[in-house]
């Protein structure tokens, strides 16, 4: 299942502020443009991103400009989906290897790596731009050392085929609607579909209920009602996207960025932020502790934390910025294209770490009917 690109799991940007002033743009310029440039390092840095759309976008829009500015060559690595890359990194680290120096890592995998001490501790003094980020995007070890920095965030939303659904749905409750029997495509795993969180927010007022097993069980019971509606439980993005575009499976949860891209290419699809909010997930930059390119890794992560680069990502890749919005020069229209002012549903990553085996088992039983 790793035959295609995919992204799984991560951290959240709460409390977006709808402030857009000329001053913000100026501030972004000051932070991004006038800062002293890092000394030109001549090394090479291996950077891993999800193979497919993400890697292609970074190869085209990000790495060439980075190399031009810093002199650091980037060797772009395609990561497989899910935790597979984490397993490979862990195995490589045990033998002193580093398949990639910097990797974009989903949140559950990031925490797992952090628990095992897989990530190099980053030097805060070498990451002056990290202060541009929302605090929850600067990940720390219990001792306060930085273990990773938010790279990009993206939304999982309710996506529909515009020909089969002339009117966009307004709520995640549409997934439970009996009229949609056999029409849904949902992600196959608890830890990347975030359907427990969606259920908790939609029917039980919030994700706090997922704090204990009884609450999770309650959400699972509610989810049982929508299982007959599901035609496809997908692991592979390509499989669902094709079905969504053709109308074979005209409704489901999917990525806001890729759906927007498909719609802009004339495909009959749309992404809707339900009234309960989209799921805000993210990937973070982490450096493997066997990396020999620590200096270059710091330069790269700092570069990626600049508001102008985050704005460029939003425009070119369609991801939502991890830096504070007022620091970027994104117009309200540009921001609306990559996010929403509806408060997002924040995944409970802790759940998939602490109750890993229990949840995956319950989940498998649920979807198998």
């Amino acid at each position: 299942m790793n035959w295609n690109s995919s992204k799984t799991g991560s951290h959240p940007a709460a409390g977006r502020r709808q402030v857009l002033l000329g001053a913000a743009a100026t501030g972004a310029l000051a932070v991004g443009g006038l800062r002293s440039r890092p000394a030109r390092a001549a090394g090479t840095l291996k950077v891993g991103t999800y193979g497919g759309y993400f890697k292609d976008s970074f190869d085209e829009h990000i790495y060439p400009a980075f190399t031009e500015e810093t002199g650091i060559q980037v060797e772009s690595i395609a990561e497989p989906t899910g935790d597979a890359w984490l397993v490979q990194l862990q195995t490589a680290a045990q033998s002193g290897q580093a398949p990639a120096d910097v990797s974009m890592i989903a949140q559950v995998a990031r925490l797992r790596g952090q628990n095992a001490g897989l990530w190099a501790k980053l030097d805060e003094a070498k990451l002056p731009n990290a202060k541009n980020l929302h605090e929850h995007f600067v990940h720390r070890y219990p001792d306060g050392a930085i273990s990773g920095v938010g790279a990009v965030s993206w939304y999982v939303t309710l996506c529909t085929n515009t020909e089969e659904f002339p009117e966009p749905p307004t709520s995640w409750k549409a997934l439970w609607d009996e009229e949609n029997a056999g029409l849904l495509g949902l992600m196959a795993l608890a830890s990347n579909s975030f359907l427990l969180e969606i259920t908790a927010k939609t029917w039980f007022g919030g994700t706090d209920m997922l704090g204990d097993e009884a609450g999770v069980q309650q959400a699972l019971d509610k989810l049982k009602e929508l299982v007959p509606n599901v035609q496809l439980w997908w692991r592979d993005e390509g499989q669902f996207q094709q079905a969504l575009e053709s109308g074979e499976i005209p409704m489901g949860e999917y990525y806001h960025d890729v759906t927007g891209l498909a719609a802009s290419q004339g495909k009959p699809v749309r992404s809707t932020f339900p009234e309960e909010g989209g799921v805000l997930d993210s990937g973070s930059w982490c450096v493997i502790n066997t990396s020999k390119a620590m200096d270059e890794a710091h330069v790269f992560i700092d570069y990626m934390s600049r508001p102008d680069i985050q704005a460029k990502l939003a425009r070119k890749v369609g991801t939502s910025p991890t830096v504070k919005r007022e620091l970027t020069d994104l117009t309200p229209e540009e921001f609306a294209a990559v996010g929403s002012d509806i408060p997002p549903i924040i995944p409970r990553y802790d759940l998939y770490l602490e109750k890993d085996a229990w949840i995956s088992q319950k989940w498998s039983e649920l979807i198998a009917g």
């Binding site: 299942m1 790793n2 035959w3 799984t8 497989p80 989906t81 899910g82 935790d83 597979a84 984490l86 397993v87 862990q90 995998a109 925490l111 797992r112 628990n115 095992a116 056999g182 196959a188 795993l189 830890s191 990347n192 035609q231 496809l232 439980w233 692991r235 592979d236 499989q239 079905a243 053709s246 109308g247 074979e248 770490l353 602490e354 109750k355 890993d356 085996a357 995956s360 088992q361 498998s364 039983e365 979807i367 198998a368 009917g369």
Partner: protein, 285 residues
């Protein structure tokens, strides 16, 4: 006369090379997997060396038992169907002139060059509601309107059979083409009908290759993890899919390894049983 054949180490050298390769690329990885299956999985982290039976104990859960039974069932079913189709096909093929056989063999080999991914996605399109064969059936007014035939048990079975067919033909082709034409001729001379000849003479003569092909397709199906995801519903996900989920998505290598060992033991037992039954029939003859 002195025996000039080399003795001792020199005599065994040619065998040492494959033996070393087998050790390096099969026995060692298998040993590692076996060891990992007893390791301790740290919740929220990775595994650490240890010895515990917890990973095997999870099998006591009926869920994985059902997945195992389903895997065995669909693998056997697909293998039997493939043999039932491929054996007569190959027999007829070998009775053709050489020049007429070539295009068929080229076609079968061409199918082999397709990856499981392409086969899976091609079938999912062919069986879809929007672009699939059901549109033709609906056009012919046999069903009221086009329907989605995938994901379903039938779609998965179809995919597995398609995947196994060319391998089966290639395994059966050499023995069938070497089959002495005098054997069926003798049967015909003695008055047996073509069908009777086929079932009572040709099939028993080629029981060995047939059994071999059956076992190969069965094992092949058991390892399929991609087709069940693309063409099946969650209740059709084989144990191989669950192994992949645990290894790739849950970082739980010990449990994945334990399931893999379990699956292997079951398939070995199954193969052993098939061979014993086959041998017993041979002896009874």
């Amino acid at each position: 006369m002195t025996d000039r054949r080399p003795r001792g180490l020199p005599a065994r050298l040619p065998v040492l090379w494959p033996a070393a390769m087998l050790l390096l690329f099969f026995v060692v990885p298998f040993g590692i997997m076996l060891a990992v299956s007893f390791f301790h999985q740290v919740e929220g982290g990775f595994y650490e060396p240890g010895f515990e039976l917890a990973n095997y104990a999870r099998f006591l859960d009926p869920f994985f038992g059902r997945a195992l039974l389903f895997s065995l069932w669909i693998s056997v079913l697909a293998a039997v169907i493939v043999i039932a189709v491929a054996f007569p096909f190959t027999y007829c093929l070998t009775r053709l002139r050489r020049s007429a056989q070539v295009p068929f063999l080229v076609f079968v080999l061409a199918v082999l060059s397709l990856s499981e991914v392409i086969i899976g996605f091609a079938w999912s399109t062919l069986l879809s509601r929007t672009a699939g064969l059901s549109n033709l059936v609906a056009w012919a007014s046999l069903i009221p309107r086009a329907q989605a035939w995938t994901p379903s048990f039938g779609a998965l079975l179809m995919g597995l059979c398609y995947l196994g067919f060319p391998y089966t033909v290639l395994i059966l082709y050499p023995p069938l083409s070497r089959l002495d034409p005098e054997i069926p001729e003798a049967s015909r001379t003695l008055g047996a009908s073509p069908l009777r000849t086929f079932f009572l003479v040709i099939v028993p003569v080629l029981r060995g290759p047939l059994l071999g092909a059956l076992i190969m397709v069965f094992v092949f199906n058991l390892g399929a993890y991609l087709l069940p995801q693309v063409l099946g519903r969650p209740q059709h996900w084989t144990l191989s899919v669950h192994i992949t989920d645990q290894a790739v998505f849950q970082s739980n290598l010990p449990f994945a390894a334990a399931m893999a060992i379990f699956l292997m033991l079951f398939s070995l037992a199954f193969i052993g049983l098939t061979m014993v039954l086959g041998g017993r029939q041979e002896a009874a003859r």
